[in-house]
Symmetry: C2
Subunit: 243 residues, 2 copies
DNA sequence: CGTAATGTTGATGATTATCAAGCCACGTGG
DNA sequence: CCACGTGGCTTGATAATCATCAACATTACG
């Protein structure tokens, strides 16, 4: 199935690093291929040599690494609008897989087209690099959480981050949002056992700063939750340095 | 102090993504500024808006994030030849500081010069992006270690990684190398207490797979250490995708 | 209505942080 | 040369944290 990338998505990609009209038009004109995936599907296999890059349109996906004993660790989580595969444009091999955490929809475009685009619009290469650098900032933040924050704060931090990122993507408002992710997936993200994740979640709910029932998260006291989690959102606001 | 970048360093930067003669010459011709730092010195402050990027010439440095309670977490460690600051070329603000883990020497070059260079040699922008993407792969690997590996394996993995990276940089041979880093710094890197780091190290030495006395690390059984740590080095070999 | 996936609970033992102290190597000043 | 201070390493004891196992409850869904 071949289709133009939805205008709403383009607006969202655009939000952070404003594209010029010419860039926007060239971007939207690429031969995007839309594809849907079921909950749990493997979107990109680990160790794959990618020939196209992906933008998440709907749902949640995550980077995943599997260990020999069957354990796995999620190293990043993506929200709609994320160009989650972009480093594959510069490196020959992907060091991780990408898995669908929910039913989701992805727009894919071949690297050859992105490269031709980049050759015509040089600033886009810098935008790509900035996007990759931003993902690095997310990962550094997660390393800090895993290394120096207890499980309750770790999950609280995740909630804060997801709210801000989804807000930007148009998927969150008024301190509430849908987050249809299982506790087992939270465990794989936070580096915890499922049982302990469950208890940490209960403890977090017991603070009264937020609720999380089913897929619905509601933050009742943003400022206190931020303080509790030690959430410093500067790492989310990093912008392309023009000139 | 203004000086040309040492030829040996250039050769090392070159090792991964071969530069053309023209690129190499342009690169070496930039107005590099050499600067030395004492053990523990802050090379780049957290939240800084950088105007230059840095290549580590000698010693060890690390990315660092400080928490409100005074704890800190190291999110990356750099070896000679690493362009540890490159994402600052694309983002306005650095989300982390850089600290000297040992006495070290750094070559710095202003962003304006790098950007002019990049405009003349477009492939260099891709090389920069690839370098940033590689750092992302290192970070993902560390997330996996922190989330799913016990402290002994975590440190074993660090030893494996440092050996391979130093080997490439010319700082390791015959399964031994100098690593003059304190246990407190290992603790901040691995997300452990100092006491537990010490005990994990003793346990690791007790396996007989390696020794670590003072600053001297000696790996006596590489294959077994790799197996024990679950070290899969594909993430280190990622190369720039040319076309 | 049955079945599987997800969430929850209790009990237990292993892991890890914390505190407090001592040890060792090294450099500095008397 | 020795006293002394400092920083890094090591040890023991204790308590908090976390994983694991084995249920059971709840929900989603065919």
């Amino acid at each position: 199935m071949e289709s133009a990338i939805p205008a709403s998505l383009l607006a969202m990609l655009d939000r952070r690093d404003a594209m010029s009209p010419a860039e926007r038009q060239a971007f939207a004109g690429l031969p995007w291929r839309l594809q849907s995936f079921q909950d749990g599907a493997e979107i990109v296999p680990e160790g794959h040599r990618p020939t196209e890059s992906c933008v998440l349109l709907r749902g949640f996906t995550a980077n995943v690494r599997y260990l020999a004993n069957g354990d796995r660790q999620l190293t990043a989580i993506h929200v709609p609008g994320d160009f989650f595969d972009l480093h594959g444009l510069f490196l020959k091999v992907l060091d991780h897989g990408v898995v669908a955490l929910t039913e989701c929809q992805v727009a894919m475009v071949k690297h050859e087209h992105l490269k031709r685009l980049a050759a015509d619009h040089l600033r886009l290469v810098s935008m790509f690099a900035a996007s990759i650098a931003r993902e690095g900032a997310l990962q550094r933040t997660w390393i800090v959480c895993m290394g120096r924050k207890d499980p309750v704060r770790r999950i609280a931090h995740l909630v804060c981050e997801m709210y801000r990122r989804l807000e930007r993507a148009g998927g969150a408002r008024d301190f509430q949002f849908e987050f249809p992710v299982t506790q087992a997936e939270i465990a794989d993200l936070a580096g915890l056992s499922v049982v302990h994740t469950n208890r940490a979640l209960q403890e977090l709910r017991a603070t009264g700063l937020m609720s999380w029932q089913g897929a619905e998260i509601r933050i009742s006291n943003w400022a206190s939750l931020v303080a509790f989690a030690g959430f410093d959102e500067t790492y989310l606001g990093l912008q392309l340095d023009e000139q």
